[in-house]
């Protein structure tokens, strides 16, 4: 995992999903928000079911920011993601 640990301000965003269309949509939205707003964050897709289950989510896609589950089972709007990342 290429997480930049030297920069403590950098956020680690994980998108949990087994690869369904909804998960791809969410990844797209999150990546856009990050690049459009110059947010210092790494975006990582977690597709392995065993990894996903460590987060104890039952509905995908789920958005995890710094190991905290913020959204599960639905696609958020850009504004919502931005608010969560601020």
């Amino acid at each position: 995992m290429a997480i930049n640990k030297t920069n403590i301000m950098s956020k680690v965003i994980k998108i949990l999903g087994t690869g369904c269309p909804k998960c791809k949509t969410m990844t797209g939205i999150v990546k856009e928000v990050v690049s459009e707003n110059n947010i210092d964050a790494t975006v990582e897709k977690v597709e392995d079911i065993m990894e996903i289950m460590k987060f104890n989510v039952m509905t995908t896609p789920a958005l995890v920011i710094d190991d905290i589950i913020t959204i599960k089972g639905r696609i958020p709007s850009k504004d919502e993601v931005l608010a969560l990342l601020k």
């Binding site: 369904c20 909804k22 289950m53 104890n56 989510v57 039952m58 509905t59 089972g73």
Partner: protein, 325 residues
């Protein structure tokens, strides 16, 4: 209740487009406009309503409830009922399955949920009301719930834990009646509504193309296939019709939104409703992509048993429908 839509369709086709009443093209177009508007409105209302229910009964609450309470046999019915209000996405079926197993919920109860959830969902209900009317919809919903309950019960009795994949068995061994710290999001109704609203639009956006294509095909068939055309081939007393229709349907993967409008025309042209419903249940409830996903948690044998039991129950309910309706 829908008279105004018929008037609108008549006006558009006969007055605005100036087509002659009774001509195939005019009738097919009229049917398409009327059905599209009516069904999209119904879908909107049902999806919105289910969204509200689901907002107050999220899946984590359902799991905790089933995990915590001893229900003396009623847990199959409860799981099945919860399946109705939970929107189903086949890509969530695996995490959901693991979550349930981990919470100490019996395998059969988990199956009851997994069977009903795709079978009776908001889109299917909306389409059913629009195409077949309220009475048939109620029968479909009730039998869908019973189908999940009974199949779940049978699957539990078969003691299938041995056929889970090894890592799931491990999860099962460590299962506990855990109460996840579930912090219910404190949301005002206004916040909830904005989330529900965007979900409604998402779901509608996803199904509209299928619905419209389905209705268009239905519209064409409606205009061109003579009344009672199928009666010759698929009469009620043909004993093989129901099993053949069901077995053909299982591998088919279409979301209900495309298949239901076509099925409605088939029924109008003489296919017995029980046969058609068995077919639709096969299409909606079981699919190959779902089986592929489930391979991560179940051995091939377990998937085969699961699908066989559900298929059998669908066939039986198909016969029942043909007798009752």
């Amino acid at each position: 209740m829908f008279d105004w839509i018929q008037n609108l369709a008549d006006w558009l086709v006969y007055d605005v487009l100036n087509l002659t009443k009774g001509v195939h093209l005019a009738e097919a177009l009229n049917f398409f406009i009327y059905d599209s508007i009516k069904i999209l409105l119904l879908l909107f209302v049902i999806i919105f309503f289910m969204g509200i229910v689901n907002s107050y009964f999220p899946i984590d609450k359902v799991k905790n409830y089933l995990s915590r309470n001893k229900l003396y046999g009623l847990e199959y019915l409860m799981a099945s009922l919860f399946g109705v209000v939970t929107p189903f996405c086949s890509c969530s079926s695996v995490p959901l399955f693991i979550g349930f197993v981990r919470g100490g919920i019996p395998l059969g109860v988990t199956f009851a949920f997994l069977i009903t959830s795709p079978l009776v969902n908001e889109v299917a209900i909306g389409l059913f009301i629009g195409l077949f009317g309220l009475k048939t919809t109620i029968i479909y919903v009730v039998s869908g719930i019973l189908l999940g309950t009974i199949s779940g019960f049978i699957l539990q009795k078969l003691k299938l834990e041995a056929y889970l994949t090894p890592w799931v068995k491990e999860v099962l061994a460590n299962a506990q009646k855990e109460q996840d710290i579930f912090i219910a999001e404190k949301q005002s109704l206004k916040q909830r509504l904005s989330v529900i609203w965007s979900e409604v639009l998402n779901i509608l956006k996803g199904v509209i193309p299928y619905v419209l294509v389905g209705i268009a095909i239905g519209g064409l068939m409606h205009g061109y296939i003579p009344e009672g055309f199928f009666e010759k081939y698929m009469a009620k007393d043909n004993l093989f019709a129901v099993p053949i229709a069901t077995i053909l349907a299982v591998p088919m993967y279409s979301n209900a939104s495309g298949i239901l409008p076509v099925a409605q025309v088939l029924v109008a042209k003489g296919i017995p409703i029980g046969t058609a419903i068995a077919f639709m249940m096969g299409v909606v409830g079981l699919s190959l992509p779902e089986a592929m996903l489930l391979k991560k948690v179940m051995t091939f044998k377990l998937i085969a048993i699961f699908f066989s039991v559900v298929t059998l129950c669908i066939i039986i309910s198909g016969y029942l429908f043909n007798i009752i309706l």
